[in-house]
C-alpha cells in the first residue's frame, strides 16, 4: 500500500530540521596568550591557554595555564581527552584538563599542530618543525611517519584530517601541501609552493572543498578533496596569509587573516574578496581570524587584542578576551560528553 504523508507534516518536519540546524551545533575554542613579554623562566602572571566560548559569550579557561599553546584537538568520543601543542611538544589530558602528560620525548620538540582522526580517534597526528609524527594509541607513543616528505623542507605547520575517510590527512609544509591516504605511511605532494603553507581547512559544508593559504604563494581552493588546487586570483600574494576559515553558518563566507593585508573576507565562495580592516587598528597585522558557531567573525590583531564582528567584518568591537593573541580558533562539533 502506498501511503502518503500529509504535506503539513512534511513541512513541519522540514521546519524542525531547519530549526535544529539553525541552533549552534558546534563548540568554539581558542588558544590564547595574554601574558605579554613572557620569556623562558619568568613567571606567568595572567591566565593563558585554551578558552571556550560559553553560551553567554564569556570565555571559560580550560586546562593548564600555558603561554605558548599553538594548537589543540579533542577526542571526538570523549571531550575530556584534550591534546595541546607547544614548546615542549604535545601535551595530553585524559580527565578534562586536570592532569597532563607530555607525550613526546626529546626527539620531538616545538610542535605546531595536532589532529585526531574522527574515524579512528586513537590515531593522533603531530606537526613538527622537522616532519610529522603519528600515534595509534592516543599519543601514548609517537613515531615518525614521513615517507614521501622531502628530506629537507618538511617543516610542518598544519595538519587537517579529512572527516570523510580514515587515514586521509593533508599537511601544510615548507614546500607545499602533502597528502596521505594511509595514515601517514606514505605522503605525496599535491600542491607545490615556494615557501611555507600556513593553513589548510576543510569545508564544514562540503567535505570535498578545501582551502589553503601560504607565505608567498597566495590562497588556494580545492574542489576534489585536496587532490588538485586552483589559486584564488583575487587574493594578493604581496603579504603572507597566516590563516583561512570557513563560516559554519554560511558556505559562501570565507575569511583570511594576514600580516599586512589584515582581514579579507569573501561572501561568494572566494570569487571576490573585500578588505575588512575598517575599525581595526593599523597597521593591518592579523595573527588569526575565526568564525564562531553563530557566524561572528573574530580577528586577533598583533600586539593589540581580539576583535569581534557580528556583521562579518563590516564593523568591529573589542572582545572580552582583552590583550590576547590567539594562536588557534577551533570549532568543534558539539560533544555528547
Amino acid at each position: 500500500m502506498n501511503t502518503k504523508t500529509p504535506a503539513f507534516i512534511l513541512f513541519g518536519l522540514l521546519a524542525l530540521r531547519i530549526l535544529a540546524s539553525a541552533a549552534p551545533a558546534y563548540d568554539f575554542f581558542v588558544c590564547a596568550n595574554i601574558n605579554r613579554n613572557y620569556v623562558i623562566g619568568s613567571k606567568i602572571v595572567t591566565t593563558n591557554g585554551v578558552f571556550q566560548r560559553d553560551a553567554s559569550g564569556e570565555w571559560q579557561h580550560l586546562g593548564y595555564n600555558d603561554t605558548g599553546i599553538s594548537a589543540l584537538a579533542f577526542d571526538p568520543r570523549d571531550r575530556n581527552v584534550i591534546y595541546t601543542t607547544g614548546l615542549n611538544g604535545l601535551w595530553r589530558s585524559l580527565d578534562g584538563g586536570k592532569l597532563w602528560r607530555m607525550c613526546n620525548d626529546w626527539t620531538m620538540t616545538e610542535a605546531r599542530d595536532v589532529a585526531v582522526d574522527p574515524h579512528d580517534p586513537d590515531h593522533v597526528y603531530l606537526a613538527l618543525p622537522d616532519g610529522v609524527a603519528f600515534s595509534s594509541d592516543r599519543a601514548q607513543t609517537l613515531v615518525r611517519r614521513e615517507n614521501g616528505l622531502p628530506t629537507r623542507g618538511k617543516y610542518t605547520q598544519v595538519l587537517q584530517i579529512d572527516r570523510t575517510r580514515a587515514g586521509r590527512v593533508l599537511a601544510g609544509c615548507e614546500l607545499g601541501v602533502y597528502l596521505t591516504e594511509d595514515a601517514a605511511l606514505h605522503w605525496h605532494q599535491v600542491l607545490p609552493t615556494k615557501e611555507m603553507v600556513f593553513d589548510i581547512q576543510q569545508s564544514p559544508h562540503d567535505p570535498l572543498v578545501w582551502l589553503a593559504v601560504t607565505q608567498s604563494s597566495g590562497a588556494w581552493l580545492s574542489l576534489d578533496g585536496g587532490q588538485t588546487w586552483k589559486k584564488f586570483a583575487a587574493v594578493p600574494t604581496t603579504y603572507p596569509l597566516y590563516n583561512i576559515t570557513f563560516d559554519v553558518t554560511n558556505p559562501q563566507r570565507l575569511a583570511i587573516g594576514s600580516w599586512g593585508l589584515g582581514v579579507l573576507t569573501s561572501e561568494d565562495g572566494g570569487q571576490t574578496w573585500i578588505d575588512r580592516n575598517a575599525g581595526l587598528p593599523a597597521p593591518h597585522r592579523v595573527w588569526r581570524v575565526g568564525v564562531d558557531p553563530v557566524g561572528q567573525l573574530y580577528a586577533s590583531v598583533v600586539a593589540e587584542t581580539l576583535y569581534v564582528s557580528s556583521d562579518f567584518g563590516r564593523t568591529w568591537k573589542t572582545d572580552s578576551l582583552a590583550g590576547s593573541v590567539v594562536n588557534k580558533f577551533l570549532i568543534q562539533p558539539k560533544s555528547a560528553h
Partner: protein, 628 residues
C-alpha cells in the same frame, strides 16, 4: 623561543652594585702559574669561600634577612649551615610561586640536594610539590636542554618510583629518568663527536658546567655521574685552551655586545678566576656562577687543564670543529659544520670562523683581541662585520612567523639586532679566511639587504691610530700592533653601545665604527707583537711593504702576503689558499692543536701540556692520566 639569554644578562647586571667582592674590586691577580699543588688547591678553596661568603652574607640583596634570600643565597647558607630554619621558610615561600623553565629548575635542584639533611621536611616537600604542579618549559636551545634534562634527571633520581601524576610532565619517575638519561647521553655523544652548537660560550658556559657539576656530584647512576664529570673536564679544557690570561678569545656561537667589545665581561671570566685564578671575576661572581660554588670544593681542575690556561710555552694555533644552530627551514642542512680557528700569542689572540650564517642573532665571527694587564673595562678587540638582519634568517631558525620576529627579538632582550650600527651577529654575505695572525674578511652583499654596509669596530683603548696614505689604518692595543686595511671607502661614526638586556638607552663608550657603504667589500687585519719591531714606525713600514692586490668586482678577491711570509689568496665563496695550497676543511678534526686533540666523531679528547696528558674517552667512559 630563544629568549632566555636575557636572564643571564638580567642576573649579571643586577649584581653590578652588590656588596664588597674582593676579587672583583681588588687588583688583578697574578698570571704566574702556581705549580705547588697544595698551594694551588688552597688558593682555589679560598676563592670558592669568597663566593660562598659573599652570597651567604647577602649577595646581590645586600642583606642576610631570610625573607629576602634568593636560592643562590640559600645554597650558600646551607653550605655554611647557618640560619637553616629561615632558609626553610624562605624556600617554602619561594616555592609557592614557582618559575617555568630550566633557569628555575636547576637552582631548585641545587637546593633540593644541598638541603636534604638541612632543610625542614616541609621545605623539601614544597620543592617537590612545585615540580608536580608547575609545567616546566624545556626551551629551545642547547643550553636550555642541558639544564632541563640534568635537572629532570636528578629530581627523578631523588624521588624514584613516584607515579606519573606526581610530576608536571605526567610521566613517572622512571619515565622521566629514562628520557633525561637518553637525551644527556645523546647530547654528550654529539658534542664529543662533532662539537657543540653553542661553542666557545661567553656567558652560557655556566648553563652547562653548573648542572654538569650537579650531575658529577649527585647522580646515582655511575655512568651518568662519570659522564657528567668527564664533560665538565671537556668544557673546562676548551675554556682553558681558548683563553689568554683567563679571558676567553676567539669566535662565539652566541654572545652579547658587552662581551664582544669587552672580552673579559663574560661568565667565562668567573670560571677562569675560580679555576685558574688568572683574571678577576665579573661582578656578582657571574650571577649564575654562585650555583657552582656550593659544590666547587668537590672539584679540582686537572693539572693539565690548569697548566694549559696558565702556563703557555709559546704561540699556538688551535683549529676546531663545531656546528651551527638548527636550521628548521630553508637550508639544505640541519646543522652545518663550523670551522673555528684560534691563534694565541702572549700579547694577543686572533680567532675566526669561515663566516656565513651561524646563530642569526648572537654570533661573533672573528676578531683580534689583545692582552691587558687589567682587562676590566678594556675594549680590547678589533673586527668588522656585515650587520645582517633578516626575517628569513629568523624564520629558518625559529618556529614562528618571520614578520613579527625582528621586532620581537629586539624587544625581548637583543635590542641591537635590527640596528644598522650593530657589532654582533653573523651574515650569509661574509666569508673569512685566517692564517695565524692574519684575517681576510670579504663581503658580497646584495643591494636589497636591510643594511647594505659593513661596520668595523675601533676601540676607545686603541692608541696611535693613524690612517696611512697607503690605505692601511694603523693602531696599537696593549702590546699589540694592529694593521687594518679596508678595501673600500668608509666614514667614521660614533659607536653607541647597547647595554643589552632590556636596556633602551645607548651609551657612548668612546669607540668608533668604520662604516663602509659598499656592497663589494673587505677587511684585512694583520696583528703583531710590539716586541717584534724596533718601534711602531718599523711595523708600519713592514706592513706597507707587504704585497697586496685585490679587486672587488665582480667578486671580492684578495692576494696578500702576510707578515709571516704566507701568500694568501682568497675570493668570496671560494676556498682560500695559503702558499698555493687550498685549505682542506674536510680534514679538520674536532680539535687540533698543541693542547687539545680529537678526531672527528671519535668521542675522545686528548688533553696535553708538556709531559702531562689526560684522555677523556666517552666510548669507554674512561679518564686516563699519564706523565709522558
Amino acid at each position: 623561543m630563544k629568549r632566555a639569554f636575557i636572564f643571564v644578562l638580567i642576573f649579571s647586571f643586577s649584581t653590578l652594585f652588590a656588596t664588597a667582592q674582593p676579587a672583583f674590586e681588588g687588583p688583578p691577580p697574578s698570571t704566574v702559574p702556581v705549580l705547588d699543588p697544595a698551594k694551588r688547591r688552597a688558593e682555589y678553596l679560598a676563592r670558592v669561600n669568597e663566593v660562598i661568603n659573599w652570597a651567604a652574607d647577602g649577595g646581590q640583596a645586600k642583606t642576610d634577612d631570610p625573607a629576602k634570600l634568593d636560592l643562590a643565597m640559600i645554597a650558600a647558607k646551607i653550605v655554611r649551615k647557618e640560619d637553616l630554619h629561615g632558609c626553610s621558610q624562605r624556600v617554602i615561600n619561594l616555592m609557592s610561586d614557582p618559575g617555568t623553565g630550566p633557569f628555575w629548575m636547576f637552582p631548585t635542584v641545587c637546593i633540593a640536594y644541598l638541603g636534604r639533611d638541612h632543610l625542614t621536611p616541609e621545605a623539601l616537600a614544597s620543592i617537590r610539590t612545585a615540580w608536580r604542579t608547575t609545567r616546566q618549559l624545556r626551551g629551545d636551545t642547547e643550553n636550555h636542554w642541558a639544564m632541563y634534562y640534568i635537572s629532570l634527571y636528578l629530581m627523578a633520581e631523588l624521588y624514584p618510583n613516584e607515579p606519573a601524576e606526581s610530576w608536571y610532565s605526567g610521566k613517572s619517575s622512571s619515565e622521566n629518568l629514562a628520557e633525561a638519561r637518553s637525551y644527556l647521553i645523546h647530547w654528550m655523544d654529539l658534542a664529543t663527536s662533532v662539537g657543540q652548537g653553542e661553542f666557545n660560550p661567553t656567558h652560557y658556559i655556566g648553563e652547562y658546567v653548573i648542572p654538569l657539576q650537579f650531575l658529577a656530584n649527585w647522580a646515582k647512576d655511575p655512568v651518568i655521574k662519570k659522564r657528567g664529570a668527564m664533560m665538565l673536564d671537556w668544557l673546562f679544557a676548551e675554556l682553558a685552551a681558548n683563553t689568554l690570561n683567563g679571558v676567553l678569545r676567539g669566535p662565539n656561537a652566541r654572545t652579547d655586545e658587552g662581551s664582544a667589545i669587552e672580552r673579559w665581561q663574560a661568565m667565562a671570566s668567573y670560571f677562569s678566576w675560580l679555576l685558574f685564578g688568572n683574571t678577576p671575576p665579573t661582578a656578582g661572581y657571574g650571577g649564575w656562577g654562585l650555583y657552582f660554588a656550593p659544590l666547587a670544593a668537590n672539584y679540582e681542575v686537572p693539572e693539565v687543564i690548569y697548566r694549559i690556561a696558565t702556563d703557555r710555552g709559546g704561540d699556538y694555533l688551535q683549529r676546531d670543529r663545531a656546528r651551527v644552530r638548527r636550521f628548521w627551514r630553508y637550508s639544505d642542512e640541519l646543522s652545518p659544520p663550523v670551522y673555528k680557528t684560534n691563534y694565541l700569542r702572549r700579547d694577543y689572540a686572533v680567532g675566526s670562523t669561515r663566516g656565513g650564517l651561524m646563530d642569526a642573532i648572537q654570533a661573533h665571527v672573528w676578531d683580534v683581541t689583545w692582552a691587558e694587564a687589567d682587562p676590566r673595562g678594556k675594549h680590547n678587540t678589533m673586527f668588522s662585520l656585515h650587520p645582517f638582519s633578516s626575517m628569513w634568517a629568523m624564520e629558518s631558525m625559529f618556529v614562528t612567523y618571520p614578520e613579527p620576529m625582528i621586532k620581537g627579538v629586539t624587544f625581548e632582550g637583543k635590542p641591537s639586532y635590527d640596528s644598522p650600527d650593530k657589532i654582533m651577529g653573523s651574515s650569509p654575505y661574509e666569508r673569512v679566511c685566517q692564517d695565524l695572525d692574519t684575517v681576510i674578511a670579504l663581503y658580497d652583499i646584495p643591494a636589497d639587504t636591510r643594511f647594505p654596509h659593513i661596520n668595523g669596530f675601533f676601540s676607545k683603548d686603541l692608541i696611535n691610530l693613524s690612517e696611512d696614505p697607503s690605505g692601511w689604518i694603523f693602531a696599537q692595543g696593549g702590546q699589540t700592533f694592529l694593521a687594518y686595511r679596508p678595501l673600500a671607502p668608509y666614514q667614521w661614526e660614533k659607536y653607541l653601545h647597547h647595554s643589552s638586556g632590556w636596556a633602551k638607552v645607548r651609551r657612548d663608550l668612546g669607540g668608533r665604527l668604520l662604516v663602509s657603504p659598499h656592497l663589494k667589500n673587505g677587511t684585512i687585519v694583520q696583528a703583531a707583537s710590539a716586541s717584534e719591531f724596533k718601534n711602531f714606525g718599523a711595523f708600519k713600514a713592514a706592513i706597507n711593504a707587504l704585497p697586496l692586490t685585490f679587486r672587488l668586482e665582480p667578486t671580492p678577491s684578495v692576494q696578500f702576503t702576510s707578515l709571516r711570509g704566507k701568500k694568501l689568496a682568497f675570493t668570496f665563496d671560494q676556498v682560500p689558499t695559503v702558499d698555493g695550497r687550498a685549505i682542506d676543511y674536510a680534514k679538520w678534526k674536532l680539535f687540533e692543536g698543541p693542547y687539545l686533540n680529537s678526531e672527528l666523531n671519535s668521542r675522545k679528547l686528548t688533553i696535553t701540556h708538556g709531559k702531562l696528558e689526560r684522555v677523556l674517552d666517552f666510548n669507554t667512559l674512561t679518564v686516563t692520566d699519564r706523565v709522558k
